[in-house]
């Protein structure tokens, strides 16, 4: 196991684990948990090692199977990719602890199938953050999506229909992306990102290149549920089994945003006229602002905690897309930071949702009454995540919002700045509404009046609490570590020209 191969092992172990779970899990249900946890712990450790290597020794490019680029497949292990790999593997490991418990409750004898898909999805995400080939992005994106379709379909109620709608929308997005790649290939004759980046500036053909760019970007927007291409997300994410939601909700949209950053700045460059075009910037950032406002407003209309969160994911996508398209250092720093932070926040929120669901059953606001007494730890973690979503220091949400606001001010995008502040206020309203219900109303209010009598504490199982507390702690730790994170990682992750 040479040290330069570690990132490959981080990618490959979930894939191998997926088959192991498939085969062994069929015979013994008890084989599932050790395999999943073992594989993901290894993957996380490997990703972390690679990340530390990259921090000390700088990024490198890796050629798979000795077929030299641009013909062979290349992986790029740089600061940004490596950071994302740590994020993906860390979130996956944390989520899986909780998922093992909730899936054991939800899908008794189909656990091994669930975790087969689960691990392939993780392998796909690992691939996405490392690949340096534009076509591979398409393939890996579909691997991640197809497994996600399957995971969603395992959910409750109308999950199958939501999953089918997601198939249609997701495939449309993938087709758009593939179409764009087709244009790029016809124009340049290569699919390697570095090669593309070398050739594109020499091209003359404006409209064709712009078409390629727009097709790819729109395709990615559909995949990440950027407003107004978001309609598939709320149903799909709220009908998923909780075990899948804790993985998919934090990672899928965030990784797609990472891909957009890669596409815009590793294939194209910040100097590309379409990105620099003031009108285009105005429109995209304006759309992001509109998306933030609309998604926040729609979240206000929800009566179910899980559904409310899905709309918040859409709002957060607006944060990041807007931040990237501000096209200045602060904005892009904020967007990258927010990818990390939002992944952690969403993880914490969905872990809390999963824990609440395991005890309270339903998640509509009425069934949250009196939860502070019954599940104090879970609610405390939910409050931390809520503070981060609102943007209260020292939680990490504050700092990425800070950079995004700075970027917005620098670019003079006042609409976007206003939308960010509006969304903070709406988040405050949303979460305090939930907290108020959980804090004030006791479940048997009708029978006992105001009811201060002791309600027994009935916390979620430890396997769900531990990851939740870890995620909540991570929100504060990452918040306090923002300085070093920006200085030692994200500064290097910014593409040349920034």
């Amino acid at each position: 196991m040479s040290p330069t191969n570690l990132h490959m092992y981080a990618l490959a172990t979930p894939l191998i684990g997926a088959f192991a779970v498939m085969v062994l899990g069929r015979y013994s249900r008890r084989a599932v948990a050790p395999i999943v946890l073992g594989v993901l712990s290894f993957s996380f450790a490997a990703a972390l090692t690679v990340f530390l290597q990259v921090l000390s020794g700088g990024g490198f490019r890796y050629v798979v199977g000795n077929w030299l680029a641009p013909y062979g497949i290349e992986l790029s292990v740089d600061h940004l990719g490596s950071l994302m790999q740590v994020l993906v593997s860390g979130v996956a490991l944390t989520a899986s602890v909780s998922a093992l418990k909730s899936v054991a409750n939800d899908l008794q004898d189909r656990q091994h199938l669930f975790f087969t898909l689960y691990l392939i999805l993780i392998a796909g995400l690992h691939g996405l953050v490392l690949t340096a080939d534009a076509f591979n992005v398409y393939v890996l994106l579909e691997i991640a999506s197809i497994t996600a379709y399957g995971l969603i379909a395992l959910g409750r109620g109308r999950a199958i229909v939501s999953s089918f709608n997601y198939v249609i929308m997701g495939s449309t997005g993938a087709c758009f992306y593939l179409l764009g790649i087709g244009y790029l290939y016809i124009l340049t004759g290569t699919l390697n990102m570095a090669d593309l980046a070398r050739i594109i500036p020499t091209l003359q053909s404006g409209p064709a290149l712009a078409t390629a760019f727009s097709f790819c970007i729109v395709g990615l927007w559909i995949k990440m549920a950027f407003f107004p291409l978001h309609v598939w997300l709320p149903n799909a994410y709220s009908d998923m089994p909780d075990g899948a939601a804790v993985l998919v909700a934090p990672l899928m949209t965030k990784v797609t945003i990472y891909l957009m950053i890669r596409f815009m700045f590793s294939i194209f460059s910040p100097a590309y006229e379409f990105i620099q075009h003031a009108g285009v910037q105005q429109i995209v950032v304006g759309m992001a602002a509109l998306g933030i406002v609309c998604a926040s407003a729609m979240a206000l209309g929800q009566k179910n905690l899980r559904r409310m969160l899905t709309y918040l994911i859409i709002a957060e996508v607006g944060y990041m897309v807007g931040g990237v398209w501000l096209a200045n250092t602060q904005g892009l720093t904020g967007a990258i930071l927010h990818i990390v932070n939002d992944a952690l926040m969403t993880l914490c929120l969905f872990l809390a949702v999963s824990a609440i669901a395991s005890r309270a059953g339903a998640l509509d606001f009425e069934s949250l009454r009196g939860l502070f007494r019954r599940m104090p730890v879970t609610m405390a973690a939910l409050v931390v995540a809520a503070l981060s979503m609102i943007g209260v220091p020292p939680t990490c949400g504050f700092f990425s919002k800070w950079y995004l606001l700075l970027g917005g001010i620098q670019a003079g995008q006042w609409l976007y700045v206003g939308a960010l502040i509006f969304s903070s206020l709406v988040n405050a309203v949303l979460f305090f509404r939930v907290i108020e219900i959980a804090y004030f109303r006791t479940p048997d209010e009708g029978a006992h009046g105001s009811g201060h009598e002791a309600v027994p504490i009935r916390e979620a199982p430890a396997a769900m609490l531990q990851p939740l507390v870890a995620a909540a702690a991570a929100l504060v730790v990452v918040g306090l570590a923002t300085g070093p994170l920006v200085q030692h990682v994200i500064r290097f992750a910014l593409p040349g020209g920034f």
């Binding site: 209260v392 800070w402 004030f440």
Partner: protein, 489 residues
Amino acid sequence: MNLQPSTWPLAAVLISLLGTVPILLSERRPNLRETWTVLISLGKFAIIASMLPAVLEGGGYRFTLAEVLPGVAIALRVDAMGMYFALVASFLWILTSIYSIGYMRALDEHDQTRYYASFAVAMSATIGVAFSANLLTLYLFYEMLSLSTYPLVTHKQDAEARSAGRKYLTYLLGTSVALTLPAMILIYVLTGTLDFSVGGILAGKADASTVSILLVLLVFGFAKAAVMPLHGWLPAAMVAPTPVSSFLHGVAVVKVGVFSILRMVFFIFGTGLLADLNLGAVLTALASVTILGASLVALTQDNLKRRLAYSTISQLSYMILGAGMLTTAGMAGGLLHLSMHAFGKITLFLCAGAIYIAAHKSNISEMDGLGRRMPVTYAAFFMASLSIIGMPPMGGFLSKWSLVVGAIDGGQLLLVAVVLVSSLLSAAYFFPIVYRGFFARAAGENGPEEIREAPILCLIPLSVTALFCLGLFLWPSLALQLIQMVVSP
């Protein structure tokens, strides 16, 4: 100023935050829990007091936790202004803790553990604000204070508490996110730093209109200072148990708001800049309106705690008024009023609580004749109201005197009139209470015969604070020395 690196500021902030752990763990043993609370409050005061000599020598301490943004760290520093506020707050916390024990046990309140734990967190946040080295750290602790006091405000957990809690967070969180945060970012964009430094950081970095926008954003953004029209949360918060109202909404929370605004005036804007741009008038105008408006509303309130709340709103603006005068005497008066009002108002609230425990009455119109049954409480109430009105021989006289001198120095005779008129108004809303207590006859057969004084644990703190109102008039040197270091560095 020579600030030594030290972990003492951190210890001063953290002791009560970490203190929540033993408090929560001893939930089933109330005596142990209350012992912890008192010990922690004593420890906190001791740590803060131990840093006093260095501050008096013109030095201080600093502590940097982490640099989170380029040029901005989460950092603490102990200087004269922070020390002044921290001393007052931590000293009064000891008394409030003792009083809380008496009050909560006398009323047999529910969820006492949560109460003491939240109180300790709130105290950490208060000292954190006092010792913040920059605007970001201050904002952090400011928000922490808003959130940690929410369970205290809504302690009763009934419908009234719920709507009060809603109002509380809407005002405090809403303004800080919508006004303070943008102002903070704007300052960062303009100057590249958020550090508090003597003489301000904005001079030469921003034009007059930007500075005035920032000033308005920050005065209203720190809504804890309850400058009208953002004062509505304070009367609503009076549904909280009385020790909370007395300490948090007479001292800690509201003074944190004022303290933050004063920090901005002295260390972000700089009094020189405000004087050059003639912006002191913005502060004095807003403050004057609040002083007079709130005094008038206080006259109409029958609920004792609500009357005190409006009185607080009015008195808080004295401090902003003093800062807005931009004269040495005026600023000193404003700062001095911070401690004078703290001791006076906490006494009044503690008395209100004692009356509630002893007689279960909260409306002034029902309090006829109570003074003869509760002479200690009413005597303390009388002394404290004299201090708030500003009559010698009480501490409040010194601060009002200094304010009047400051106004005359600055040639702002209108402000002299504001101070005098509002003093008359405060006399008009305090004296009837005392008069009714001692001289009015109770109507009906349900006379106050069976009413006795509140428990001894309640009486001691309020007597101590009342005596301090007197003591601060006779020996104000420590406060004056610290204030002098702030206003003429």
